[in-house]
């Protein structure tokens, strides 16, 4: 591998890792803070991508679709939490798995009924539809770089909200001891609803941003679900910062795995996970 290729592969790794972070961050919040194993997280990613397709066809602009789609996803998440997930906090994990797996099937059938089973493309917004020439034959789409920038901005914003605001303080406290927070007169149910809605919105946003480069297709959520769980486990359950580090590790492992040891590229990520867990069974960064 020459030096230019190495640099571009590094860029590929960063860009892939950041997108993975966006999907996994919502999962780690819901899993870590609320203790819910949410297999339907991938479905929220799928819902986001289809929202991007439907809304951008209707409005003619992906930016408009995202502006409309985020509030929709937040409301959708809040309703789901109120109707279904709020009954699960005190149940065991098996029941959570059953409910959320059922949701995957329901969402996929609804998607099939409402939008059909075809593969769809979503247009890149015109002002980002360009590319930068990197080498003689290879260029890099500006849109991919823009996604990375959005992901970095969101990571910083999430960190700020959780570490530096009153809401974040309550979230962290609820994570540590739910009943203590309740006895201090804080409405913990509302906090959970906000966190869950935020998790759904993050996954949906990832789907919306990824739609133009991944296209929109049935069962797209299942592809991101497993890798998201890998990231959450490597990073440490509930840690947003850990999810970021883990997502970047996975991005590098996957990219360079494909190039350097193509025969084993399917397992590189899982080998990395195994090594990390042997080294730090709780993940790189514990809850926080």
């Amino acid at each position: 591998m020459d030096f230019a290729s190495f640099l571009i592969q590094t860029l590929n790794s960063l860009q892939y890792g950041l997108l993975l972070f966006l999907v996994a961050s919502g999962l780690t919040l819901v899993f870590g803070i609320m203790g819910i194993i949410n297999l339907a997280h991938g479905s929220f990613y799928m819902v986001g991508a289809y929202l991007a397709f439907v809304l951008s066809s209707a409005t003619g602009s992906l930016v408009m679709a995202i502006v409309l789609g985020i509030p929709l996803a937040l409301v959708f998440g809040a309703i789901l939490e109120w109707a279904l997930f709020s009954h699960l906090y005190k149940r065991d994990h098996l029941e959570q798995v059953l409910l959320t797996y059922g949701l995957i099937l329901i969402f996929e059938q609804l998607r099939s009924l409402l939008v059909g089973d075809d593969v769809h493309g979503v247009a890149i917004p015109a002002f980002l539809d360009a590319s930068i020439q990197l080498t003689e034959v290879m260029s890099y789409p500006v849109y991919r770089l823009a996604i990375s920038a959005v992901c970095v901005a969101l990571a910083v914003a999430l960190y700020y909200v959780i570490q530096r605001t009153r809401l974040g303080m309550m979230i962290r406290a609820g994570n540590d001891d739910r009943s203590m927070v309740e006895s201090l007169g804080i409405n913990i149910d509302m906090i959970y609803r906000v966190v869950f809605a935020l998790g759904v919105a993050l996954a949906a946003l990832a789907g919306m941003l990824a739609a133009p480069i991944s296209s929109v297709f049935p069962n797209m959520g299942s592809q991101v679900l497993i890798i998201s769980f890998v990231i959450v486990v490597i990073g440490g359950i509930g840690s947003v910062w850990g999810a970021l580090v883990a997502a970047l590790i996975v991005g590098f492992a996957d990219t360079f795995g494909k190039v350097l040891i193509p025969e084993l590229s399917g397992i590189v990520v899982y080998v990395v996970m195994a090594v990390v867990l042997l080294w730090r069974p709780e993940g790189i960064l514990k809850k926080g």
Binding site: V119, V137, Y143, S215, K258
Partner: protein
Amino acid sequence: MGKTVKIAGRTALSLAIAAASIGGAHAADKIKVGLMLPYTGTYAALGNAITNGFKQYVEENGGKLGGREVEYAVVDDESNPAKATENARKMVSREKVDVLVGTVHSGVALAMAKVARDTRTLMIVPNAGANDLTGPLCSPYVFRSSFSAWQPSYAMGEALARKGLKNIVTVTWKYSFGEESVAGFKEAFEQGGGKIAKEMTLPFPNVEFQPFLTEIASLKPDAVFVFFAGAGAAKFVSDYSAAGLKNSIPLYGPGFLTDGNLDAMGAAGEGLLTTLHYADGLSNARDAAFRTEYAARYKAQPDVYAVQGYDAAQMYEAGLRAAGGDPGRKEEVIKGMESATIDSPRGAFTLSRAHNPVQDIYMREVKGGENVVVEIVSKGLEDPARGCKL
């Protein structure tokens, strides 16, 4: 001892055939067709197109096959190999179908073919392309109206070698259909004097292609040959174009790359050249009639899958006609199908000794959202049926 068993077996077989013939002698008996296809999941659209095509032929034929009324037993195979054997057995023993038609997913089709072989039930595969179905696992009872994975890719290999390309990189998912496609391509391309610079694979259904695109850009081959299908194909083509490679290194693949994906690819797909046994804009009258009728019936444009369903019905009709309309006379039905020339919308074809279509492969170009035919790149291409002992 062995001989006695054999004779006893043979007697039992002829008795069974005789019994079946007696059963079939009632003129009022209907032909029972078992459609075992995907009606839910990723391949639902393909299952429906095949069903539409099959029923269209039957209805054009007066609602009959071999001069008898047709009734259907339908099961959704869900593209799930784990349920395939049970579903196929139900079709044979409970529904008592005369012919089993299915399916799209190769894993399911392989399990069905085993049941068909064991129970001596006639089966027609209207899509699944696994080479093995008409290769090592071929059987007198199993026919295919579609293609083998080897066919379109081999034709592409020949075509690119003829063009004088020397140095090609291949990319595919690491699963059997992808590997069979690349192997078929490689065989023809290397025979024609070309060289495969690098074979890249990634695990199914991973779609993070960026590392491969970067590598292709640094290897600078004459062209890239890929096998992907469905959403992965749309993504690969879009990414390839977005990386700026489309203008400097041409991309080729079997027709599954573009079929059903043109809308999702948009401008990135324009101008792509692919090979398949069917194309838009064929000039034969049979195809024109088929398309008009299909569009009127189903308010949709037919695709290659509809053609394969249509031809499955035609193949069975040819077999029944040779057996005087009696599905119980299996040997005559099989002989009739083996010797038939099928007047398909794709162009007439016959069947190889392994029961796979011997057919023309077209080079198609993506133009204005259609896979328009450019030329026939391989005339009457026959799958080598390696490992088949028929």
